[in-house]
Symmetry: C2
Subunit: 238 residues, 2 copies
Amino acid sequence: MVSVLSTSQRLHENLARLIADSAPGERLPSEPELARRMSVSRATLREAMRAFETQGMIYRRQGSGTYVTHPTQVIDSGLEVLQSIETLARHIGLPVSLGELHIDPRTPTEEEAQALNIELESGVICVRRVIMAQDHSAAYLVDTLPEDVLSPKALEVDFTGSVLDLLLKQGNPPLASSRCEINAVTASVDVARAMHIQRGDVLLRFVAYLYAGNGRVVDYSYSYFLPGYFRFHVVRRV
Amino acid sequence: MVSVLSTSQRLHENLARLIADSAPGERLPSEPELARRMSVSRATLREAMRAFETQGMIYRRQGSGTYVTHPTQVIDSGLEVLQSIETLARHIGLPVSLGELHIDPRTPTEEEAQALNIELESGVICVRRVIMAQDHSAAYLVDTLPEDVLSPKALEVDFTGSVLDLLLKQGNPPLASSRCEINAVTASVDVARAMHIQRGDVLLRFVAYLYAGNGRVVDYSYSYFLPGYFRFHVVRRV
DNA sequence: CAGATGTCAATTGTCAGACAATTGACATCT
DNA sequence: AGATGTCAATTGTCTGACAATTGACATCTG
């Protein structure tokens, strides 16, 4: 069975490439021309264009044409796209490995029960691990999930260090978005012990809720980052 | 002359309201039905739908229907929307005031010249100020702009503490997006002095490039935040 | 000559109608 | 009970057309 991309997907990729290859301010070919070139109807093309327009990559002016804005967004996506630390590290060329790993099935704390919107008596799986870079601990990640979301079996078989990648690969439940709160903190006693750093060292902390398509919270996580290893950024738009 | 909204704009607003008023997971009326109700063609409607789809507010399934995801994105926008600290503070109900303010016309440092992509001999305006909350300094913001972007006159007249708001109000040049890098740092000597805190205190730091529509960098800024006053978050999507 | 005005081709915005592909519920058969 | 066929509903895509706007050029006018 050959994996065939749908018309939309092909079109989207082709357009993305075209836009990425264009200089800022450059005018794209006209819609009839593009539709011919991409072998789709103008209506379908326009819908795809609208997608790029809402992302601020192009703007259209009636009577004049379609123009690309600066391609910052294309070559450079930030925190606003949901991807794991491992995927992010791979993109920036930082070799990372999985350090100490703990997988605890247990009952949730009051905070976790509230965050995940579950009963105190129900079960959760808590995944704690250290991410190593250049033989030093660079991050400490703690994920808490309802036990029915992720089977312990899947965790044993092919856990590479990323709960997010596992959930994405599993495909069920379908993930929608994540709300990530950003703080600067000093290392607490247990975080310092896990990362082998001094208590009081400065850390970047993310507290995140991961939402499934139906609105359910499927993962509540704390992530601690030692400055210098990762570079996080956000693209902000008007 | 009456200001009339274009068909697209009306449609967009109506759809936004409809989606916002829907419960998570709810199915929207069919496309032909919606097109009739909004008095537009199905093609136009679909283009607007695509806009909301790329924003993750709805998803469409062929043969089944169009569904709204949870309205997190609607009620809760984060760092990914470009707005000033003052606007953000107003939204969360934190009363802030402008503390010590310095406006320096000077020549750029090497770092600034490179960031703004200008000559070392050209002029820049450097705006430094402290943001106060509850009688304590909560943030320290340093903006550097090419001198032709912002007239010193505008700064004198109605500067409320936000360079971004001033540029948005001025409308020229039109702003497109901002790239904001996120770090956790300890206070350096001069930052500590400006904020009246201890050297070595933990701070959240943003380093941001503000882009105009033509791709030019119009503002290069450092922002330091004392933990506890502001809450920053990002909505991340697949 | 400078500025206003008209003309026109190119381009995006919108429309109507049609058919294809998929889904989900229901009925039917084994 | 489970597999299979049927069918209406819904989104995906296509075609061709016309309206509205833009920008360049020619033309008129004081």
